[in-house]
């Protein structure tokens, strides 16, 4: 078994690990770095539960090898909280019942984060389109859409 060294930054902290070249990024995050907040839902790039940000852009960590992320900056759900405070997106998900079982939530939050960075003042239709990259089976998306609307307002206020 050939092991390759992978160096990357996750949520601002540098990590180094050795893994097989075939190891998926999501398995590397979960098993080698013990960051189990990122979930595996389908392993074929449809459900979006495993979405993380790679160099600032949303990516399916089940469709990427860890070695491909060598040198990259990764953001995961574990990095959203700052100083013990929920990120405005997390706070909005909490207040608007944006999650039930919570399994899609990490992917939903990271997708929404990327979406709001590129589209800070979205319409409801744009939010629905933007979030269609992640499947939720519990909520019917109602609370999620409301939460992203609320977070957009909150983040716009913070930016001012």
């Amino acid at each position: 078994m050939i092991l390759t060294t992978v160096r990357l930054t996750v949520n601002g902290a540098p990590y180094e690990g050795r893994c097989e070249p075939r190891k998926l990024l999501v398995d590397f995050l979960r098993e080698d770095l013990a960051l189990t907040g990122t979930h595996v839902g389908c392993e074929h790039g449809i459900c979006g539960a495993c979405t993380v940000l790679v160099n600032g852009e949303a990516a399916r960590s089940c469709l990427m090898l860890a070695v491909q992320a060598d040198g990259a900056e990764i953001e995961t759900v574990e990095g959203l909280m700052r100083d013990g405070k929920l990120h405005p997106l997390q706070q909005a998900f909490h207040e608007h019942h944006g999650l039930q079982c919570g399994f899609c939530t990490p992917g939903m939050l990271m997708t929404a984060l990327d979406f709001l960075r590129t589209n800070p003042r979205p319409t409801e239709a744009q939010i629905r389109e933007g979030l269609s990259a992640v499947l939720c089976r519990c909520t019917g998306y109602h609370g999620i859409v409301k939460a992203v609307e609320a977070a957009a307002r909150e983040l716009a206020r913070d930016a001012r």
């Binding site: 990122t38 929920l86 079982c101 019917g140």
Partner: protein, 769 residues
């Protein structure tokens, strides 16, 4: 939400191994030879276990039932002699990592002798069909009928009879977390712990005890955070049994995390029914009788604990809906085929029965020139009729059927919509309005078992509530939340009934070692039965706490107020003790307690609502069809539901809307498709489409809050209703839009392809394309 949840995949144990299963590529094949030698020699592989080796350690899973006309089908944990569906597990490989285990699976060779595949349920029911289970001597393993009155005469004498053969295709639950389990055998204590993504830790524990021949008290089943279930995770699966047997055999923890392909191949599937139905109507629109024959494709096995009867029996139990049906006969048959086993999925039977009955009600209206809402109003069971015994023997304790319909019509602006529809039709606009009214039995007690004849207890639940020496409250339950928010709702019930502060109540569930004996969460039961048990235990504690407080305050119990964790003398609010002070006295013993009182502040109570209680709702869907694209766009969606007393409105809305989303998927998008050779053609989420945010309309949910007359707390279940109403409402809306073309809907889902074929049967200029 913060990445700190703990699902089964997140459980890591010292020395843990990883299992992968070799699964049959054939739907029906004899297994001639299995060669695992190469796999066993691979680096990192600990074991490759075949059926014959496992059989010595574990019994096959048998879903027994006393139901007449039922035949059990033993499920081998690993299949040894023949495979009965594509994906059935044949060999278990255990290795140091999942990657290595999967490599080893690829190194196993098996010689198969393909057998004729039983695929079409109608053909399967015939005597000349090959059998899925030779021992059964038939594929018809469920056969049951309910009858009242003389339905044949009713149909013969009726002014009109609306009849059709309906088809509700096969569906999958698609919880976003796949099935997963991890077992650990403690050889010193002779104790087994299974972490499983399950809704029913209590039933899994009881099942494992039988199959592994271990006492119940030596088994702990933990359902940690569970990423959705929807009924699919309310069964005992072979993989759960296998990891337990393997962990015991190998002396190391064994983890299996299913992937999506395994989920779509092997998790229980749902519905898949053909229903021949005749509705007899008098000239004035009153229902005279209903006759139905239901054929359910139950797949390869009858699963534990519900048995293969659950779906078909629910269909014939609930076909009469919220209507007075004087004469009725419903016959159900369940036939085995070489497909994944069928199990309960959100709504169980009632999405199908509601679809059939409600489509027929609309056709009656059209035939008589009446408004569909008026035909329903004419036939609803009225307020004076409760308790109402339905023709299938179900007792409806209450209902607000007409009120929910009237409110839904008002909410959606029904009359204005009808005018808009009429004016749009001349311009070729295809707007459709569809109504579905239904009633469902929730919080089912012991009188009507959730699975009649099965030897399981589904009518009771317990609550153990303990106020500790610090005054904080732990409430433990046998119900097992998988996204329903029991941590919130049950804590609210306990806080209110006991008099504690909400923030002081911690709800524990999903751990058979922690709580009272219970089965789990399914069938819209947790708020009703778990909540009822919570009320009983809280009341017992409240009474005791008040007695202690009266002793401490030297006051009469009747002069005390108890709320938010404080007991105070009415009119003298500075004479008060906190729940913490009461609890300290309770554990301090005799010197600080009323004479003769037993120390401690803990209570366990069980609750059985006996019949259960009726929830009801009306859904109205408004669709606009684009005949050129064969696209159905949901324009509006209104739900007016009555789930009795509401514990938490946000959570009720979440259940209703989430249920509707699954119903929308069932009506328009989702379908499990098998080829005639039994090969699954929808083995990925690119083929099996569930709704995304983009397909979901805004859902307007309104509540009628009529407390249940027959349950403690007045609660009614709300977990499944959304999925029951939506397929029927959408089918009726699409049929309404197509009515000018003379096209009816008899098959779900209405995929673009089906719509294309329906429209193709109509001359092009009339379709407006």
């Amino acid at each position: 939400m913060t990445g700190r949840g703990r699902y089964v995949a997140d459980v890591v144990l010292p020395g843990m191994l990883h299992a992968a299963f070799l699964r049959s590529p054939h739907a029906h094949a004899r297994i001639a030879r299995v060669d695992v030698a190469a796999a066993r020699q691979m680096s990192g592989v600990v074991a490759a276990v075949v059926a014959a080796e496992l059989e010595a350690h574990v019994r096959p899973i048998i879903a027994a039932s006393r139901m007449k006309g039922y035949k059990a089908t033993p499920i081998p944990v690993l299949a040894g002699s023949k495979a009965r569906y594509q994906g059935e597990a044949l060999v278990a490989v255990v290795a140091e990592s999942r990657y290595v285990a999967e490599d080893a699976v690829d190194a196993i060779t098996i010689d198969y002798e393909p057998l004729p595949v039983v695929s079409d349920p109608r053909a399967a029911a015939r005597d000349d069909s090959p059998f899925v289970h030779d021992e059964a001597g038939t594929n018809v393993i469920v056969s049951r009928a309910f009858a009242q009155g003389d339905v044949d005469a009713a149909i013969r004498d009726a002014a009109i009879v609306e009849s059709d053969t309906f088809r509700f295709h096969r569906h999958a639950a698609v919880a976003i977390e796949n099935r997963a389990c991890t077992a650990e055998w403690d050889a010193g204590a002779e104790r087994l712990t299974l972490w499983s993504s399950t809704q029913v830790p209590g039933m899994v524990r009881d099942g494992l005890a039988e199959l592994l021949d271990i006492p119940v008290h030596a088994i702990r089943v933990v359902a940690p955070d569970v990423g959705g279930g929807f009924g699919m995770k309310s069964l005992l699966y072979p993989e759960e049994v296998a990891v337990c047997a393997l962990a015991r055999l190998l002396g190391r923890p064994v983890k299996w995390i299913g992937d999506r392909r395994e989920d779509l191949l092997t998790s229980s599937q749902a519905w898949d029914e053909e229903i021949e139905c005749e509705l007899a109507i008098d000239a004035d629109g009153a229902i005279r009788g209903l006759r139905a024959r239901v054929l359910t494709d139950v797949g390869a096995y009858s699963m534990f604990p519900w048995t293969a009867s659950i779906e078909a029996i629910q269909v014939i139990s609930f076909l009469p809906g919220p209507y007075r049906v004087p004469h009725y006969r419903g016959e159900a048959r369940g036939v085995t085929t070489n497909k994944a086993p069928m199990g309960p999925y959100r709504g169980v039977g009632r999405p199908v029965s509601t679809f059939v009955t409600e489509v027929l009600m609309d056709r009656v209206a059209r035939r008589l020139g009446l408004d569909p809402a008026d035909v329903r109003r004419k036939n609803f069971i009225g307020a004076a009729d409760f308790p109402y015994r339905s023709p299938s023997g179900v007792v409806w304790d209450s209902g607000s059927f007409a009120e929910s319909l009237d409110s839904a019509c008002e909410a959606v602006g029904y009359d204005a919509l009808r005018r808009e529809q009429a004016s749009g039709r001349s311009g070729g606009r295809r707007l459709g309005i569809g109504i579905a009214s239904y009633v469902e039995l929730t919080g089912v007690g012991s009188a009507i078992p959730a699975s009649p004849g099965a030897d399981i207890s589904t009518g009771t639940e317990g609550a153990t509530i303990r106020v500790d020496s610090g005054g904080s409250v732990t409430a433990s339950f046998g119900v097992a939340c998988h996204g329903q928010g029991h941590e919130t709702t049950l804590a609210q019930v306990v806080a209110e009934e006991l008099g504690a502060r909400l923030e002081d109540v911690r709800v524990v569930h999903g751990d058979t070692a922690a709580g009272p004996i219970g089965s789990g969460t399914y069938a819209s039961r947790s708020a009703v039965i778990g909540g009822g048990a919570a009320i009983l235990a809280s009341r017992a504690l409240r009474e005791k706490a008040l007695a202690i407080a009266a002793h401490q305050l030297e006051a009469d119990v009747h002069d005390l107020d108890f709320r938010a964790g404080v007991v105070a003398v009415r009119g003298a609010p500075d004479r008060r003790v906190t729940l913490r002070e009461i609890a300290r006295a309770a554990y301090a013993g005799a010197k600080r307690l009323p004479k003769g009182m037993e120390p401690g502040l803990e209570a366990t109570r069980y609750y059985d609502p006996y019949f259960g209680t009726a929830s009801n709702a009306t859904h109205i869907a408004v669709v606009e069809l684009d005949p050129a694209l064969c696209d159905v766009k949901l324009v509006r969606y209104v739900v007016v539901e009555d789930c009795g007393r509401i514990i938490n409105p946000l959570i009720v809305d979440g259940q209703a809307i989430g249920g509707v989303a699954q119903g929308i998927g069932a009506a328009l998008l989702e379908e499990i498709v098998y080829g005639d050779d039994g090969q699954l053609l929808t083995g990925s989420l690119m083929d099996y489409l569930i709704p995304t945010a983009a397909e979901m309309p805004a859902i307007d949910v309104r509540h009628l809050e009529h407390p249940s007359p027959s349950t403690l707390g007045g609660f009614k279940g709300v977990g499944e209703g959304g999925t029951i109403g939506a397929p029927a409402a959408i089918a009726n809306a699409v049929a309404d839009a197509l009515a000018p073309l003379g096209i009816g809907i008899r098959e779900l889902p209405i995929t673009p392809e089906r719509l294309f074929r329906l429209l193709g049967a109509v001359p092009r200029h009339r379709a407006g394309a």
